[in-house]
C-alpha cells in the first residue's frame, strides 16, 4: 500500500510538468497581454516595455517557464496584473469554491445515491421511470438555464433567497448554487448507482446475505450498496476536480468570487500568472482526488489489493 502511494505520487511529477507547460503555451499563444492593459488606446511604448520587464514577458518562453516552475517550489505564483500576488487571489478564491464543491458533492452523495438505490431496487416501477425521466431532463438542460431560472424564480419572483452570494459565501448561501452546480452530476450519480445496484442485486453474495436472514436494511446498505459504490466513487472523485474548475458558469450567475471567477478574469485579461497558477492547483486537486479514489477501492471491496 505504502509503495503504491509513493509510486502514484511520483507519477504526478511528469503530469504536473506537462500540464503546466501546456497551459503556459496556450496562454502565450493568445498574444501580448500588455496590449490590452491600457484600454482602448495604445500603451505608450516605454511603459509597455517596462511592464513587460516587470512581468518577465520580455524573456524567451522557455526561460519564463523555467523561472515560473522554480518560483512555484518556493510558493511564489507570481503577480496578477492588478498588482495582487496570485497566492492572495487563491487564498480568497479557493475556500469559497471548496465550500461550493462540498455542497455540490453532498447533494450528489445524499440525493444522487439515495435516488439511485431507490430506483435500483424498484426497477421498472413508476418511481424508477419517474426518476429516470427527471434525470434525463436535468442532464439535457444546460446549467446556465437551470441557474438563471432558479435565480429568477427563487431570488427575484418569490424572494426566498438572495439572487447573489455575498463575498463571505457561507454554506447557507451556497445551497442553491451548489444544487445547480451538482445537478448534472447528480443525475449521472443516480443513474450509475441505479445500474450498479440493479446488477449486484442478483449476485451470489446478496443472495447469501438474504438467505442468512439478515435484515433487509443491512443487506442493502452493507452488502449491496458498498459493492455497488465503486463506479459511483470513481465518478464522484473525478467530479471534484471538474466541479472546482468547471464552476465558471455557476459562479458567474450567482456572483460567487471563487476559482471560476478568478480564472475567467485571468483569461479575459490574459493574466498568464493567474491562469497558470490556478490551473496548476486544479491539476493537483485532480491528481490527489484520483489517488484517493483508487485507495478507496480497497476499502469498499477487500478483494482489491495494492502491491
Amino acid at each position: 500500500m505504502g509503495r503504491y502511494v509513493i509510486r502514484r505520487l511520483l507519477q504526478m511529477i511528469p503530469v504536473f510538468i506537462g500540464a503546466t507547460l501546456l497551459i503556459f503555451l496556450m496562454v502565450n499563444v493568445m498574444g501580448d497581454p500588455i496590449a490590452g492593459l491600457c484600454g482602448d488606446r495604445q500603451c505608450d511604448p516605454a511603459t509597455a516595455a517596462q511592464l513587460r520587464t516587470e512581468f518577465g514577458l520580455d524573456k524567451p518562453l522557455w526561460q519564463q517557464y523555467l523561472t515560473y516552475l522554480g518560483n512555484i517550489f518556493t510558493g511564489d505564483f507570481g503577480t496578477a496584473f492588478n498588482g495582487q500576488p496570485v497566492t492572495e487571489l487563491m487564498k480568497s478564491a479557493f475556500p469559497v469554491t471548496i465550500r461550493l464543491t462540498i455542497v455540490a458533492i453532498l447533494f450528489e452523495i445524499i440525493i444522487g445515491i439515495t435516488l439511485g438505490v431507490i430506483t435500483g431496487l424498484r426497477r421498472g416501477r413508476p418511481v424508477d421511470t419517474g426518476v429516470l425521466l427527471l434525470t434525463l431532463v436535468v442532464i439535457s438542460v444546460p446549467t446556465f438555464v437551470t441557474g438563471l431560472l432558479l435565480q429568477l424564480l427563487l431570488g427575484v419572483e418569490w424572494g426566498w433567497i438572495k439572487p447573489s452570494v455575498s463575498p463571505e459565501a457561507t454554506f447557507g448561501e451556497l445551497i442553491v448554487p451548489g444544487l445547480v452546480l451538482a445537478s448534472v452530476s447528480l443525475a449521472y450519480v443516480t443513474r450509475l448507482t441505479r445500474t450498479s445496484i440493479a446488477e449486484n442485486r442478483r449476485s451470489d453474495y446478496v443472495r447469501t446475505a438474504v438467505a442468512k436472514g439478515l435484515p433487509r436494511r443491512r443487506v442493502t446498505i452493507r452488502h449491496l450498496l458498498r459493492n455497488s459504490l465503486i463506479p459511483v466513487v470513481t465518478f464522484i472523485g473525478t467530479d471534484i476536480g471538474a466541479l472546482m474548475g468547471g464552476a465558471i458558469v455557476t459562479e458567474r450567475i450567482f456572483n460567487i468570487h471563487g476559482v471560476g471567477y478568478q480564472l475567467y478574469q485571468g483569461i479575459v485579461r490574459q493574466s498568464t500568472q493567474t491562469v497558470v497558477g490556478f490551473v496548476t492547483v486544479l491539476v493537483l486537486v485532480f491528481l490527489v482526488a484520483n489517488l484517493l479514489v483508487d485507495l478507496l477501492y480497497a476499502v469498499l471491496d477487500p478483494r482489491i489489493r495494492y502491491a
Partner: protein, 543 residues
C-alpha cells in the same frame, strides 16, 4: 414505502435550508432620510492598482471620483470645468500657467493639501519607473521627454516644467501652447497625493487616502469596497448619504436581478438583454443619458489600398450605407444615438458639439452609397472586413448589423464581413502591429469634456490613439492654432474647423454616441450619471 419517506425527507431538508438562507438575507440597511443611510451599488473589479495616474477604466475611476478632488471638477449637468481646489489659474501666453490653490483643504488622514501635493503627484505620475498607465497626461508639461523617454531609461526624476513657488502656488510650463490646459485638470490623473502615498506606497494602495467627500473604510480586493462619508471634508459638495458600498459583480445580469430583488440600490450598467424591460421593471427609476463616448470605424491608412485618392469616396460611401437609426433602435434599444459629428453631445454647443456637422455623409442613402463606392474604385480587395474583439461588449451583434446594412446597400452579400478577434488584448495587439485587414471598431471614451480630447489624440499625426495612422497637414495646423488660441471660444471654432477636415476626408466613420444607463431602487433618490456615465454618488439621498 420507505423510499418515499427518504425522498420526502430530502425535499424537506432542501426547503428548510432555503428558508434558512432567506432568513439570513435581507441585510440591505437604510438609515432613513437623515443622510446616514448607505447606498449599495454594483461595481466591477478594477483592472489596475488604484492610483490616480494608473487608473484608466471606469470602475477604478468611480472610486477616485469619490475619494479625490482635483483642481477642477466637471459639472455633472453641463460638463463645464469648474474650480474645485483651484483658486486661480493664470496665463498670458497659453504656455506658462500659475496655479494658486485654495487653502484649508485636507486629506482624510489629516495632512494639508499644498502645492507640493500636486507637484509630487504629477511627478510620480509622469515618471517612467512608476509604470503609470496614464503617464501621457503629463506629456504636455515641459521636461516630460526626460522623465518619460520613448525608449531607454529616464534622465530626470522630476518634470522641469513644474515649480513650487509657495505653499499654495506652483507654476506649470508646457512644451507647447495649449489654451484649454486648465480645463483638462479635472481629470483624476491630476489629483493631489498625500505624503503617506510616497512614505508607504504598499499600505496606501491597500487602502487609498484622498481628499474627497468619502473615505474608504474597508476594501476587500475583488469583492467589496465600503466608503463612508468623511465629515471633515473641506469642499462644499459634501456627501448627502452616509456612505456607499461598492459590490463587485461577476455579471451585470446578476446585479440587475439583485436590484429587482431589493438587495442592491444602484446598477450603473443595465445589461443589454434587459434594456427592453428596464423601464417597466423599474417603473421610471431607469436612467438613459448621453455619455462622452463615441463609437467609430477607423481605417488602416498604413495599408496602401485604403490610402488611395479614391478610397475617400469609398469611405464616404460606406458611411452612407450604414443605417444608424435602425441599428441603434433595434440592437441598442435606443441607448445609442446616431452620430452626426466626431465629438459628443455632452460637450454642448458651446463646448464644440455640432449636430449634423457630418452632413449627408452620415445619412443613410443606399443608392448614393453604391455610386460613391463605385466611383472610388470599388471596395479595396473586393470586400471590407470589420475587425472587433469578440470577448467583451457584445460587439458581434452590431458589427453584423452594420455589415448587413452595407451589403444591402451595395447589393452584394459578400461586400462586408465581420472579423472577430478572440480577446481584447489580441485585438489591441494586432492594431498596435498595424495588421488590421480593413476597418476596425474604435471606441473613444473622453478623458475630459473638451472637443480637443475628441480630435487631437485620435487624428493628429502620430497621436497616442491615432491607431489608423491617419495624417493630414491641414488638420494638424488647425489643431496647433486652436491650442495656441487664448480665447476659448475661438479655440473651439478652430477645433471645429479641424473636425471639418476629418469630415471631408472621412478619416473615420462616426457610428453613434453611447448613453450611460442605470437603474436604482425605491430606497434612493437623486440618482444621476455624469458625462463619464459614472453615478454622481455624493448627491444620492437615501429615503
Amino acid at each position: 414505502m420507505r423510499g418515499a419517506t427518504h425522498a420526502r425527507w430530502a425535499a424537506c431538508a432542501v426547503v428548510v435550508a432555503l428558508a434558512a438562507t432567506a432568513c439570513g438575507g435581507g441585510g440591505s440597511d437604510s438609515g432613513g432620510g437623515d443622510g446616514s443611510g448607505t447606498v449599495s451599488s454594483s461595481w466591477g473589479d478594477p483592472q489596475n492598482p488604484l492610483e490616480p495616474a494608473n487608473t484608466n477604466e471606469v470602475q477604478g475611476g468611480k472610486v477616485l471620483d469619490m475619494i479625490f478632488r482635483g483642481l477642477k471638477r466637471y459639472n455633472a449637468k453641463t460638463g463645464a470645468a469648474e474650480d474645485m481646489l483651484a483658486d486661480t489659474i493664470e496665463t498670458t501666453d497659453s504656455q506658462n500657467f500659475t496655479i494658486t490653490i485654495k487653502s484649508g483643504w485636507k486629506f482624510s488622514n489629516g495632512e494639508t493639501v499644498t502645492a507640493q501635493s500636486f507637484v509630487d503627484a504629477w511627478n510620480y505620475g509622469a515618471s517612467l519607473k512608476n509604470n503609470q498607465k496614464n503617464a501621457y497626461f503629463f506629456g504636455y508639461i515641459d521636461g516630460y521627454d526626460k522623465v518619460h523617454p520613448e525608449s531607454g531609461s529616464q534622465s530626470a526624476d522630476t518634470l522641469s516644467g513644474l515649480k513650487v513657488t509657495g505653499t499654495n502656488t506652483f507654476t506649470v510650463k508646457l512644451n507647447q501652447k495649449f489654451s484649454t490646459f486648465p480645463d483638462t485638470l479635472g481629470y483624476a490623473a491630476y489629483s493631489p497625493l498625500p505624503k503617506a502615498f510616497f512614505d508607504d506606497h504598499a499600505a496606501w494602495v491597500q487602502k487609498p487616502v484622498g481628499n474627497g467627500p468619502y473615505t474608504i473604510s474597508s476594501y476587500t480586493k475583488g469583492s467589496q469596497m465600503s466608503l463612508v462619508k468623511w465629515d471633515d471634508y473641506s469642499g462644499d459638495d459634501k456627501a448627502k448619504n452616509g456612505g456607499v458600498d461598492l459590490k463587485v459583480y461577476t455579471d451585470n445580469n446578476t446585479a440587475y436581478n439583485d436590484l429587482l430583488a431589493g438587495n442592491l440600490d444602484l446598477v450603473d450598467d443595465v445589461p443589454a438583454a434587459q434594456l427592453k424591460n428596464a423601464k417597466s421593471d423599474l417603473s421610471g427609476r431607469y436612467i438613459n443619458t448621453p455619455a462622452g463616448i463615441i463609437q467609430t470605424l477607423a481605417f488602416p491608412f498604413y495599408d496602401k489600398k485604403w490610402n488611395t485618392s479614391g478610397a475617400k469616396k469609398v469611405r464616404q460611401g460606406l458611411s452612407m450605407a450604414i443605417n444608424r437609426q435602425q441599428i441603434t433602435d433595434t440592437i441598442f434599444q435606443k441607448t445609442r444615438t446616431p452620430a452626426s459629428d466626431w465629438t459628443s453631445p455632452v460637450l454642448g454647443e458651446k463646448g464644440g458639439f455640432q449636430k449634423g456637422l457630418c452632413g449627408d455623409s452620415c445619412d443613410y442613402n443606399p443608392s448614393q452609397a453604391k455610386k460613391l463606392v463605385q466611383e472610388g474604385g470599388g471596395l479595396p480587395g473586393g470586400q471590407v472586413k470589420i475587425s472587433y474583439n469578440a470577448d467583451t461588449g457584445s460587439h458581434k451583434e452590431w458589427v453584423d448589423a452594420v455589415c448587413n446594412s452595407i451589403n444591402n446597400a451595395l447589393g452584394n452579400n459578400k461586400a462586408c464581413v465581420g472579423n472577430p478577434i478572440g480577446t481584447f488584448a489580441d485585438f489591441r495587439n494586432q492594431i498596435g502591429q498595424h495588421k488590421m485587414p480593413g476597418p476596425f471598431r474604435a471606441g473613444w471614451q473622453m478623458d475630459y469634456p473638451l472637443i480637443q480630447n475628441f480630435l487631437q489624440p485620435l487624428y493628429y499625426t502620430n497621436a497616442s490613439s491615432n491607431d489608423g495612422q491617419w495624417t493630414n497637414k491641414d488638420f494638424d495646423n488647425l489643431v496647433n492654432q486652436a491650442n495656441a488660441e487664448t480665447d476659448t471660444g475661438k479655440a473651439v471654432k478652430l477645433f471645429q474647423q479641424a473636425e471639418g477636415v476629418v469630415r471631408d476626408n472621412m478619416a473615420a466613420i462616426p457610428l453613434w454616441y453611447q448613453n450611460g444607463s442605470a437603474g436604482y431602487s425605491d430606497k434612493v433618490s437623486n440618482v444621476a450619471l455624469n458625462q463619464f456615465s459614472v453615478p454622481v454618488y455624493n448627491e444620492i439621498t437615501v429615503n
